[in-house]
């Protein structure tokens, strides 16, 4: 038991193997960030879309893989997960909305704008997923629920 645990009197948190939802989310986030940098580096010119498009597709696939693995969990603190996810989603939809607004304001149009919006949707789902999973995993068995 760690020194902190010995003071709080809480049981030692034995490790529990969970699917790599946070890892997949971080990978997905990293790809979207790289794609975003590639797009932003061409502003105000029209960027080539092949590489950022591929990055967005792989990022989306990683996100879906994470969601799929998460959906198969049975002993998991789902109520806590959804409470955290909901609020984090609100925060990151605002954040993504602001980034989208900046691109629209700067006259990004057509396919580049569509790609930016897809990336922002992935971003706005990735971060709440990682946060909610991280919080809920420590509220799930064998960890105390409350």
């Amino acid at each position: 038991m760690s020194d902190l645990a010995s003071v709080t009197g809480a049981p030692a948190a034995a490790g529990r193997r969970l699917p790599p939802v946070a890892g997949l989310g971080i990978g997905s986030l990293a790809l979207v960030v790289i794609g975003g940098i590639l797009l932003a580096s061409y502003v105000p010119r029209r960027p080539p879309l092949a590489v950022p498009g591929t990055l967005a597709a792989v990022s989306g696939a990683l996100l879906l893989a994470g969601v799929f693995l998460l959906s198969r969990l049975e002993q998991f603190a789902w109520p806590r997960f959804f409470v955290v996810f909901r609020w984090a989603l609100l925060a990151y939809v605002i954040s993504a909305g602001m980034i989208g607004f900046a691109f629209v304001r700067d006259h990004t149009r057509g396919a580049p704008l569509a790609l930016v919006l897809v990336m922002l949707v992935i971003f706005a789902l990735d971060v709440p997923l990682i946060i909610a999973f991280t919080v809920a995993r420590y509220s799930s068995p064998p960890y105390s629920a409350d």
């Binding site: 038991m1 760690s2 020194d3 902190l4 645990a5 010995s6 003071v7 709080t8 009197g9 809480a10 049981p11 030692a12 948190a13 946070a22 989310g25 971080i26 986030l29 990293a30 960030v33 790289i34 975003g36 940098i37 932003a40 580096s41 502003v43 105000p44 010119r45 806590r80 955290v84 609020w87 984090a88 925060a91 605002i94 954040s95 602001m98 980034i99 607004f101 900046a102 304001r105 700067d106 990735d126 971060v127 990682i130 946060i131 999973f133 991280t134 919080v135 420590y138 509220s139 960890y143 105390s144 409350d146």
Partner: protein
Amino acid sequence: MTDVGRMQAEVLAQSPPRPQVQVVPVRGLPIVAVVVAFVIAAIAGNWLWALVFCHVVGGALWTAIDLFVGLIVGPILGRLSIPARAEFTARFMPKMVLLMPTLVLMTLAAGFQLALREGNLLASSPNHVWLIVSFCVVGVMAVIALGVLEPANIAVLVEMRKQVPDGEVIGLLMKRFVYTAGITGLMQVATLIIMTRVATQ
């Protein structure tokens, strides 16, 4: 009362009351809303002074807080007694939940618009390469901050709200928080070099 019971009562009496942990300080939300509205107005109006203000003030606070927390507060926190560490965390982390995302949003949104307005994003600009490098540095920091640091921060706060917080979980997550804050702090040094370079080209 038995000796053990008397000792437990004394320990409880001596230990400070656990602070009420609020994950998101609701009173701070209106301030965040005002800041976000100001940034939106600055971008929508392409208002030079406001863009410079948001970018410089937000960036200075973001960099300074990151460096201060990562390199000064973090190591001190690691050497505090356990109750002191828990009490500090309960009061410090909620403020960071609101403060840091707001500063990051303010700095990046205003900075991008400013770069565009001043023509620094044009491929012909001498600052273009420096800005792309700064995008990369910020990208790495964003992935670390959003993927590791912030989830750890919120998980610590949620854990501390439980009736019996698991110290091992808090210790594990705080270690993650302090290490990643140190890494982003060091990356801020790179940002300082790039931004001073851009400003003096």
